[in-house]
Amino acid sequence: MKWLVAAAVVVLLALPAVLNSYAVTVFIFIFFYAFLGQAWNIVGGYAGQLSAGHAAFVGIGAYASALLSVQAGLTPWIGMLVGGVLSAALGTVVGYLGFRFGLRGFYFVLLTVAFAEVCRIVALNTDAVGGALGYYITFTGNPRQFQFQDNRAYYYVALGLMLVATAVVAGIERRRFGAYLIAIREDESACEALGVDTFRYKMLAMVVSSFLTGVGGTFYAFYLFSLQPNAVFGIPLSVEIVIRPIVGGAGTVLGPILGSFILSPLAEAARVYFGQGGWSGVHLIAYGLLLIAVVLFLPQGAYPALRRLWIRTSA
């Protein structure tokens, strides 16, 4: 397994040498969404707290680093951490309220959606951050400002983000913390009865998850150079974040990556082939159908199913 992972990383590192610019872009999106999915995975997959408002953290991180860079001249390499901390602060608030008041299942989903929507509406109505027009960053191509002439640089940054998040998740899974989170997901009351401080661990999961997602916001801002409140805080982005780990296998280390490798090219292909002439919703229809199929036939996601298949064929 270790060798396989190492080999995969080497291949991914070498890949830009042979890919054209368009393929590199596709891979950037695969890595980026895998990264966001991985961050979501900590709280949504392992701890089983279905957050449908992760776009809020992306947005906070994106706006924070963009504003700091443009208004105060702070490099996004540091702004990234500031954005992460601010997102983690919001994550703490949402988590504290949600977990302290014992909101579970559907109620927690609604709480996270409500917070993300509040962020979206505030951003829409705050002229200082561009309001409904959006916020734009001027391209300078200066790497110290997190801007690169070469698409490949973004490729390596996105790959790096994904690998770091995956390492974090793998680390959590191996530790007691991960075991607690899984236990909370499976049976919270039993977990509590055994003396586990479930509130503390859920909070910790939420903080780590929202911090990582906030860091991802910086990449979003400085890769796309424009921030629209409806796009960065909107429910559709939250859906994009949630769907990858779910399809790939929530609560597994490789699930979000697998999910992103399945879904991002699918979305891209649908956009290329059906993007014109009023067919722009086709990739979301495909998402919907896939989501339905996964829930009905592979409730644990693709990765556990693949692994079972692998074990069966190799035995």
Binding site: P236, I246, S280, G281, I292
Partner: protein, 268 residues
Amino acid sequence: MAVGLTLIFGVMRVVNFAHGDMMVWGMYLAWLLATRAGVDPYVGFVACAGALFVVGLVIQRVLVDRIVAAPHEMQILLMLGVALVLENGALVAFGPDPQRVRSPLSAGTFWIGPIFVDVARLVTFALAMVLTLALYLFLTRTDLGRTMRAAADNAYGALVIGTDVRRVYAVAFGLGAACVGAAGALVSPILPFQPAGGLSLSVASFNIVIIGGMGSLPGAFLGGLLVSVAESMGAVFLSPSMKELVSFSLLIVILLLRPAGLFGRAAA
């Protein structure tokens, strides 16, 4: 006065993320009927309700039925999938531009004393009241309605006394969808609509249902009233685009303090 309609949402007990999208489909059906067949939406809503009843029944039978026993999260994800399909299906079928149904009634207005009244809104409100009342009577006075409430209250108990719970669920789901379809058709002359509006309608209706109390019909009615009054106050005192902020803040507060809603019983 679109408020009057939202109260219908209260009946549905399944966590239905496709709610708003069903409503959008109801609006588009009304629009199709009005433009292609010249049927006024105030008549056509019956057909819309019928069509969505079937849609709801099929979704329940084919999809939801298989995972009733599964965790809540799975239901949410499933309905999210359905919502995506419905919303973007509408986008592909009807295009992204907002539509509006013209009804001869929407031209008429009159004054009651100092109050300016729009006939279309009045009719919509009145029909919504009638539908809600009918639904309330159905749930409390008829056998099927009573069984439905029993199954919602305690599915196992209902099963023990010989209720076909699956059938009751299917009818409930279909009926819920029919209400949404009717609501969609009824507001179509008042509100412009577009496929992308589905999700925000879903969220708005959850808002109302949660604030009013899950599964409580009077709660949904008062919830709808409360939300719309709060939103109009927000529009007046803050700014028109901030009005949603008020209802979402209200939602957060209610979720935290009274998760069962203002009029609901304690949540399980």
